[in-house]
Symmetry: D2
Subunit: 308 residues, 4 copies
């Protein structure tokens, strides 16, 4: 199998301050489909086009932020193999039993050097994307809200992103697609890593505090859908951080915005594909502005400071 090992981002678990308000936001504005609630109070969502039971999960807490970000791996053999590699690498892993999350198999949980919780799992129930596997129509009609194609990636903030990258590359088989250098021309301010052929499956920015979330990103199909997303955000008085605009890094188009708890979310569209024979793209410190926001060519102050 050419595409093997870690397949793709599988689910993000995000803390929210008010559950009802958040369910309303992720359902009515984002257009996610609620697929279930569990005994511990977690609410599960999927994008309509996704096949697996859930890709985005929220739980009520006293502070916003990211509980865990999970990747789906090819199969149970891969899960076992990767857990072995993590242990060999000196990482403490934990097994979370199947069913602890709805419709989700056993998970291998561990902490990154930046203290973010990462999970790997091989099984999540295929509940379909509403158009079936036989003679599917082009799309489902009658869906509401922004309605992204999939939960796409996340950007995390924390101190030792070099150690993070090393772990992702050496243990989990990711490759670095792009990076931004600090003024010294050597140290990474930020790195974008891929486990498949996407421009990024996870990205990270160097930051004083550990375990911070910059944003979870959802994929849109077209630039026209990006405009429509911004319109819908306006109609619902969603606080837009920036956009619609383009990133220099990845060349994708973007809107950053905040959920009712202050978690930054993104709708992302387009951008580069990647294969592991391509060398990484480097952004130098003097062009960090263009790397992040290609049109303005300068950072807004929130990009480096506002995280949950």
């Amino acid at each position: 199998m050419a595409m093997t090992g870690v397949l793709r981002p599988g689910h993000a678990v995000v803390r929210v301050l008010d559950l009802d308000e958040s369910v309303k936001f992720y359902t009515d504005v984002m257009g996610l489909k609620e697929t279930g609630r569990d005994n511990s109070g977690r609410v599960y969502f999927k994008c309509n086009e996704e096949h697996d039971h859930n890709s985005f999960v929220i739980r009520k807490a006293d502070s916003a932020g990211l509980d865990a970000f999970a990747f789906k791996v090819l199969n149970n053999a891969t899960l076992n193999e990767l857990e072995g590699k993590l242990k060999d690498y000196g990482v403490t892993t934990e097994r979370v039993p199947a069913g602890e999350m709805l419709e989700t198999g056993e998970r291998v949980r561990f902490k990154l050097p930046t203290e973010h919780v990462i999970e790997l799992y091989a099984q999540k129930t295929d509940v379909g994307n509403g158009i079936g596997y036989v003679n599917p129509e082009a799309f489902q009609q009658g869906l509401k809200g922004i309605n992204p194609l999939r939960m796409d990636h996340c950007l995390i903030y924390g101190p030792d992103i070099d150690a993070n990258r090393k772990l992702f590359e050496e243990v989990l088989g990711f490759g670095m697609v792009e990076h931004i250098l600090l003024e010294d021309g050597k140290t990474d301010l930020a790195t974008w890593l891929s486990c498949g052929t996407k421009a990024h499956d996870i990205a990270m920015v160097r930051h004083g505090e550990p375990a911070k979330l910059h944003h979870v990103s959802f994929l849109l199909e077209t630039w026209e859908q990006v405009l429509r997303a911004a319109d819908i955000m306006s109609m619902h008085r969603v606080s837009i951080d920036i956009g619609p605009t383009r990133h220099g890094v990845t060349r994708g188009t973007t809107i950053y915005f905040f959920d009712p708890s202050g978690n930054r979310m993104e709708t992302f569209c387009g951008g580069n594909y990647w294969y592991p024979d391509m060398p990484p793209i480097t952004w130098t410190w003097d062009e960090v502005g263009a790397g992040v926001f290609y049109h303005d060519r300068k950072l807004n102050e929130r990009f480096l400071s506002v995280v949950t």
Copy 2:
């Protein structure tokens, strides 16, 4: 590495009847960049956005058609490993020395059961996509013609596509993404296979004659670029087979058209992504029309009969 083995389609070598007319077509209309000519008369092209030296090669011949379709693999170790697997599977392989094609490493060549020539290689010179690896701009300005992002896939016609599929799946690690069944509800009329996360890297249709080419496909970024491509074809009096329209299979948008030698080409855009945990999508005989041309929901007679 998660993305490993066979990476992606690397180059297609296509026979044309008139070299100058064809160079003009692929340069002015398609907007490919000519990157070289060799002693045997082959002319090499790449899409502007591609990094490797060539992805589409033409040579003068008495009849149109496909000489070879090649895949790039991760590295030389992979090349050796896959050659070993092919031999173990009973396939006769041949080594074509590095440099036999411009800026291209050693190739492993073999024939599919349908008699199409397939090549694997690990090395092709990275000549860049014109915007560099350091602080790249969003795109190159001043390019002409249709200007696709990459050579994307091909569709081949031949008798024993079951044996083809078996070889691609069992030896080369491809997965079947979609297939169309014949009236018996069992036999595949056509299959779409992926080696990575694309909706297809190669596809095949059951057909009486071996070694036939239905089309080579080039990727466009947006549906607006599809319209622009059709406009440019019209301006150059290119014979359009069908489109702009949508395929049911893959959900991609498409134009089929003919090069001056009668080779069918495609501009393709959008469509599904794929991961190996997804079951294949099945199209039944009664909906074959919608599978191929989603809007008309019927085949034109050329789809099943006109090949080179």
Copy 3:
């Protein structure tokens, strides 16, 4: 007032064979909003974005076709003035009392030389476009179907289109924007006429039989909406005549398709604007194909023969 006289197409009244099936089609597939039914059995629709009470009306009959096509004029004074001009020109006019059509003022009705019934009126109740006249949002959410912006124009077929054009130009203040010449290089096969700044408000093709309808056209906002319209047609098994494609004439993009009674409809998008200081664009007989269907550069046989 710079924009005065005849403002724009106001309503089309179309005959259908089965009322329920047609209501379902125009509501669910086209996404029109039903705004009322009258005692004579007519069903009234408007596009969601239109302000006036109705723009498309159907009635049950034994044969499909066009009962009448109406234009809204600036005010009652204009209506009287234009009726006077029509009479002076020798045209027999009839007054249809206010209220004969729902929410519609008095109409001046007359027949074109091609025997099509044309109506002029100055008043139709403004029922709004759902977003109001105070701080409107960008669009209404939750609408279904193709959901065009407005009923845009029609194309009629009949014998003496020269006399039609003369009447539209000399009496009603239209201008000719484009025309296609027959083989003799003198006689018009077809003309496109505008009363404002659109590429056409009505068009006509020379044809043996009088009073025939080629199509009524609805405006879409973007080429992406054209694709979505074709997808929705496919989902509802609507018979598509041709498209998505582009017209050479007007440069607009198009899908022609048939309602359940066989009336051809169009979704139209983009294209030229026009001002009366611009000379008409001429299409010669040898390029009639490109004029009508720009990508294929040839007519399909249905374009000149299938009318209702």
Copy 4:
């Protein structure tokens, strides 16, 4: 004639600080076509798609700003008639002889109450849009830069915009399409006026200083072209004020940016059409932010203060 009187914006004459730098900007970045230079040092441009000889003119001066904004009227009779009306209304008019501007007929010049210079003219040489009036192709290939469709409108700043509006409505036949009210709920902060069927041909904002320019706007065909425009601006290090985003007023999409002299320019796309039977849309003071920048729903400080 239904469309009569004042047809549309014809040309803007703008002051720049450095002629060569400005010619380079309007040619390479904006993609306008230079059509001539006159003895007084003015440089003339047109958009490639426009038919008339010029629509945008620059001259070197010590301060940036707008010399004049001109409208094309239907014909010489209209020009005379409108001059008579202006005089009757108490406006001092001046005749500028034909040929004073290249390829432009006699102009009637007058000052608005806000001291902006407005010109009316009936004749400008049709130099074509590069695709001709006979069997035109869909567009010209090989054009560079942003390449807007036309000079579309301007927004001016000055004190007595009520008197301006009265003059445009009562003398020149414009209608008010939208307006924003100040806190008192009565006084207009801004008005958008149309002479045809566009959402605005000229707009004005109440401001302490007279004769100020907020921006001249150029029309783009699609939202994808808006993205491409922003990309091209970034490549050329153009200072973007805001965008890509949407206006609430007109619902058009927009980028505001600055030419090398600090004149704000706009690329505008889409938005409402208008007919004189439609009541104006009102924006109240509490929603002025959404009216101007629909996504952010707040003004940036530059919108009300930075003018030339």
